[in-house]
Structures are given as structure tokens and as C-alpha cells.
Symmetry: C2
């Protein structure tokens, strides 16, 4: 048994936290990568109060439309071909334009005047050096798009927003602010701005501009290194759980599992649980990694021993006495341990764990 | 664009390699964890010549039955409840029995005489210390099951078969061989044995016994540290590919992506590709990690620069001159780079990369 339970009420709560922090801004809720692994169909109803959703690729946009999402959709990598541009127009999808071919397609085929695709998210490279136009090309693109009847949202992306004091943040903010002012003065006062991902929503409250783009915070993960999700009043939107399938005692001196990574120093009672990296739990973790087993009388925080395998892992339940029985529920991440904590065991970020869940677990909504 | 292409001909070839190495043994082809991420429905036709398939959990067994697999199914974690035991009987699923409750369920409710569930895979703990009975309990379980009319396959699992010279291997083989001889002498000469996973199929040819249980080698990954997949004549069964979605030049001194991990020492032409950890590519990789871009005239092995993001990554194409264009296909793993190589960049094994693919990529069979 392995289950992934999605909590829509937590997502709505987290959306309210975004709105509380950015009350003057519209919210583009990021649901790319299958809503960070939570499932688009499970999260869209919880995001009904968002002003729009953001997706990475066209197929994700079309899925959201097929699920009935009729408000703004922002396609953050834009289209990859001229054919895709026409598909975007057909489905009223607002596109990022970040390089010359996308600009050419937009200028060659303008959408109807009432189309949502008339709003373009024009990507400015302020220091991420990944997507976006540099200064001269951006001004030229904005001028041409405005002349062709497009409404523009200037957008950029932080490289280091998770570390508030990183010196690149101030530089990116300054470049963005200067460019937006230039475009509003020289092209159109109606040009809007969108700068902040989750991290910047929290740490750059004076720079929220017209649209904020929360991602991980909607799902209850902390976007910044300086504060936990709980300190930011964010609630985890997913519980990943399994079950005790066997209990036995490993004798002192015996090793457990692949590569005999852990050896019992004393006779040790262990529980097998039926989840592993084949479900999306990371295989390589620190020795302090733990799970929470919901025993007969209380919850126990218990360490993982040895190598996480494809379909199971071994938990040290010696400290729990007889309170843990066959069939007991095990939280891999959820309220505790928090997915941010599990990510730290694997030297990565919660985003990756959430996205890299395999389809094997049973999915439910609660 | 991100595609996962499964190659059934490679799987059949790899199955033939198993049979060539273990000509006297029956083959239980492991298709747990959605056939190591390849998709059960995609691989079953390629495994038609296997004698049976192995799955981790009951839902996987039922999926295989619903897809028309009518030969042996081995449930390697066994059932988790008495209800599941009855479901196993109903669908002719052969179960591992590795602890007392499973034994109790089997003894309380024997399947009909013609049921495939009458064959039990009795798990012996020879040193993995994860699942299975110790000596005394095993002999007692075998005696009781035989008396109740079950046919038995003694089975165990290696902890360190990937390292041929590991001293635990010889100990596990000795314990297994001794126990099988004891059971055949004292209980029934018909008791069979199953010892070898992929690694042991390759490195322990004298100990193949009645059933071998190949997993990773069916999918073209090397199971041992001493030889590559190519050296073992195994062909990769999956190609994970993406596409160049933008090309630009990063100026000397500028950093790329999240956390500004990589800084260009000279002006550097880079390609953005539309795949990332949201698709299952590992986020944390060594600096030598690379991809193969299929350019206009030839294939180029090009390094990944900066942090792999959720939906994209940046590739250094400076050495490829103008040969790489928008829309070019990029192999993340396949013939080259091999998934074993990518796994080494992430300090893990190919099994994990294959299993932790997300559902986002378009799936195809070729």
C-alpha cells in the first residue's frame, strides 16, 4: 500500500496566504509539471480564486482547458512552433515570448482582438541567463508587439530569490524596474509587470507589481532558506503514505539491505514498509532520514536503515516498543516529516520530490 | 517536447541474453514498478517468451492479468492481508511468503488443487535481513506448506550481487544451497530453487537453479559494477528525449540559472531544452553531465550548465558551431548517453532514474 493524498483545503489556504501577502496583485498560480506532482485535476478546484494558472507546455494548457479552466492561462516557455502558436490562439492561451522565432510567429499571425492570446508575457533576461531578451532586443520586441495590437506584461525570473540577501536579486529588480518604467513611458502606460515567484512574494513585498506567480508555496513548501513552511503559515498539500508489511528483529552484527549499508549494533526490531524509490521516495538519503509511523497509541518518528530499495524500505522501530503493528500507516511526507525536511535528507528541494513521484501510488483527495 | 520511447525489440533481445546465460532455468521477468518505468503494457508483448513475470504488489499483478498475461505471476512482497490472499487465489497469482501472518493465511485457506497460487515462493533470509524466514522458522514453514499441498520454490535475495567478490555473496549462496538440499531431502525432492537476480545471472552462472529473476538487464542496464551494459551485450530499452527550444549566447562573466551555479568564462553559445526534473531527469548532477544533441550534420555530446530546473535545462553548444538549430532532438538517455552513465552523474543507479520518470513526457513504442 502506498497512497498519495491531496488536500485541496490546504491549497486554498496557501492561495489565501499569497493574496494576503500580495493583496494588490493578480495571482497566476503555477500548475506546471502536473501541479508539482499533485495532479492538475485535483488542484484546479482549489485554485478557483486565482486569476490565472501557469503551465510549462502546451499539452498542460490544453489539459487545463479540457478540465474546464476558463480564465487566464500563461504558457511560461511559450510555443515551440508556428503550429503551436495557432493552437494557442484557438484555446485563448497567453504565451511567454522569450526569443526571436516566437516573436516572428506572433507578428505574422495576430489573434483576434478579443482573444486572450493578445496578451503576451514578454520575457526579459535580467540575470538568469536562461530565457528572455536582452535590453535592446526587448525594447524592439515590445515596440513591434505593441504596434501589432498586443497587450504586454513584462516578466522576468529570479535566479537566487530563495536567498533574500543574494546580491543578484537587487540587480535583477533594478533592471526590471528600469525597463518597465522605460516601456511605460516610451511605448504604453498600460504595460504591466510580473516579477515575483513564491520566494519573492515572501521576501520582496515592495516589488509585487501586477501579477505574482506562486508555485511551491501553493503546495505548502517553503520557497526560502530562511524560514520553514510552518513559519510562513503554509500547509502541506500532499501526504505520501505507506504501510508496515512485516516486522522482525535484526540480530546484532547483521547488516540490512543492498550494499549492507547499515549494521545493527544491538538486536534491533525493524519494520518493513511497502514503498521505495519505485514510488518516488529518493534512493540516496542521509542517515538521519526518518518516517512517522502511526502506532497503536501514538505516532513515532523512526529512522530509515540501510538502502531504500525500489519497492520497500526498512525502519528501525526499536524505540517504539510493541506499539507498532502490521498494517500500521507510515507517513513518508506530509504534516510530519515535512517534504522540505525529506528533501534536505536527499540534498535537494521539495519541488523535485513532488514532481518525481511515479504513478504507482493510489491517488486520493481529502 | 519530451518523449519516452520504449524499444520492445531491445527487451526481447535482452531476454534472449538472459536465456543464453541461464539456458537451464525458467525466467521470471521482473515488471514491478511499472516495468522499471517502461510501462507494463509496453513490455509484456516483448516478454512473451518469459516463463513468468514478477511484480511487487497485488495491483500490479491484477494489471498484468487484465492485459492478458496468462502465465505465471510471482508477487514478490506477497499479500498484505487475508483479503488480498483470496484475491491472489482468484487470479492465480503465485505469492512470496516471507513472514508468519502470510503463512497463517495460506494455511487457513488453501487454493484449489489446479490453482497457480498452490505454488509458493518461500522466502529465506540468507543475509539481506529484509524479508524472509530464518533457518528454524523456514523449515517449519516449508513442512507445514508441503503438508497442506503447496508446491514450493525456495527463494532468497542477494544484498551485494552487484560486486561479484563481495564476501557476503558466498555466504548467501552456501546458506541457500544447504537449505535447499535439506528441504529436498527431508520434505520433498520436488522443491525448487530461485536465487539469481540480474547481477547473479551474470556473475554466478553455476548457481542459477530452477528460476532466475532478471530485472534491470531486461531494460538494458548493467547489473554489475565490473562491466558496462554494452560489454554484457544489453541494449537500452528506453530513449528519453527532448528538443532545443531556444539558442542564445551567454556573455563572459554571466552566470546561468538557479543559484548561479555556472559562470561563463568566455562568451558561450547555449541551447535551452524543454525537459527537467519535472520530467524525471535528476536535479542534482555532477558538472560532467552531458546530453547528445542531434544537429544538422551529426550528433554532439554537450555538457549541461547550471542547475537543472523543473521544466528546462541549459546546454553548452559552443563546441558544435552552427550545427545545432532550434527544434533539434536531444537525447537525455538512450544509446548515448546510456542511462547507467546518467545515473553515475547523479550518484545513483539507473533503476532509480527509470522508475522516477514523471507521467509528463509523451510515451511511444518503437
Amino acid at each position: 500500500m502506498r497512497t498519495v493524498t491531496i488536500h485541496p483545503a490546504a491549497i486554498t489556504h496557501n492561495l489565501h496566504e499569497v493574496k494576503r501577502r500580495a493583496p494588490q496583485s493578480k495571482v497566476l498560480a503555477m500548475v506546471k509539471a502536473n501541479a508539482y506532482g499533485h495532479g492538475v485535476s485535483a488542484v484546479l478546484p482549489a485554485l478557483a480564486e486565482a486569476d490565472g494558472i501557469g503551465v510549462a507546455i502546451l499539452s498542460e494548457a490544453l489539459e487545463a482547458r479540457s478540465l474546464g479552466w476558463d480564465k487566464t492561462i500563461g504558457l511560461i516557455e511559450g510555443v515551440f512552433s508556428e503550429d503551436d502558436w495557432h493552437t494557442a490562439i484557438k484555446h485563448d492561451i497567453g504565451c511567454v515570448i522569450h526569443h526571436q522565432p516566437q516573436l516572428d510567429w506572433a507578428l505574422a499571425s495576430a489573434p483576434p482582438a478579443d482573444s486572450a492570446t493578445r496578451t503576451v508575457w514578454l520575457k526579459y533576461n535580467t540575470g538568469m541567463n536562461r530565457l528572455g531578451f536582452d535590453d535592446t532586443a526587448l525594447i524592439s520586441a515590445a515596440t513591434a508587439l505593441h504596434a501589432a495590437g498586443y497587450q504586454l506584461i513584462l516578466t522576468t525570473h529570479f535566479a537566487n530569490a530563495d536567498v533574500k540577501a543574494h546580491p543578484l536579486n537587487a540587480k535583477q529588480i533594478q533592471r526590471f524596474t528600469d525597463m518597465l518604467a522605460y516601456l511605460q513611458t516610451h511605448i504604453s502606460a498600460d504595460i504591466q509587470g510580473s516579477l515575483c515567484n513564491s520566494a519573492a512574494i515572501v521576501s520582496q513585498p515592495e516589488h509585487h507589481f501586477d501579477w505574482v506567480r506562486p508555485g511551491i508555496m501553493l503546495y505548502g513548501g517553503s520557497p526560502i532558506t530562511e524560514a520553514s513552511a510552518a513559519e510562513l503559515s503554509l500547509r502541506p498539500a500532499m501526504t505520501f503514505a505507506s504501510q508496515v508489511i512485516a516486522i522482525h528483529t535484526v540480530k546484532a552484527g547483521d547488516a540490512i539491505g543492498y550494499s549492507s549499508l547499515w549494521t545493527a549494533s544491538v538486536d534491533t526490531r525493524v519494520a518493513l514498509i511497502s514503498a521505495g524509490y519505485g514510488d518516488g521516495y529518493p534512493r540516496v538519503i542521509d542517515s538521519e532520514a526518518d518516517v512517522v509511523i502511526h502506532g497503536q497509541t501514538k505516532a513515532h518518528c523512526c529512522p530509515i536503515r540501510g538502502r531504500v530499495a525500489m519497492d520497500m524500505m526498512v525502519i528501525d522501530i526499536e524505540a517504539a516498543g510493541d506499539d507498532i503493528r502490521l498494517g500500521d500507516t507510515v507517513t513518508l511526507w506530509g504534516d510530519a516529516p515535512h517534504v522540505d525536511t525529506v528533501a534536505s535528507y536527499a540534498h535537494t528541494i521539495s519541488y523535485e520530490l513532488l514532481c518525481r513521484l511515479s504513478p504507482r501510488a493510489t491517488r486520493q483527495i481529502h
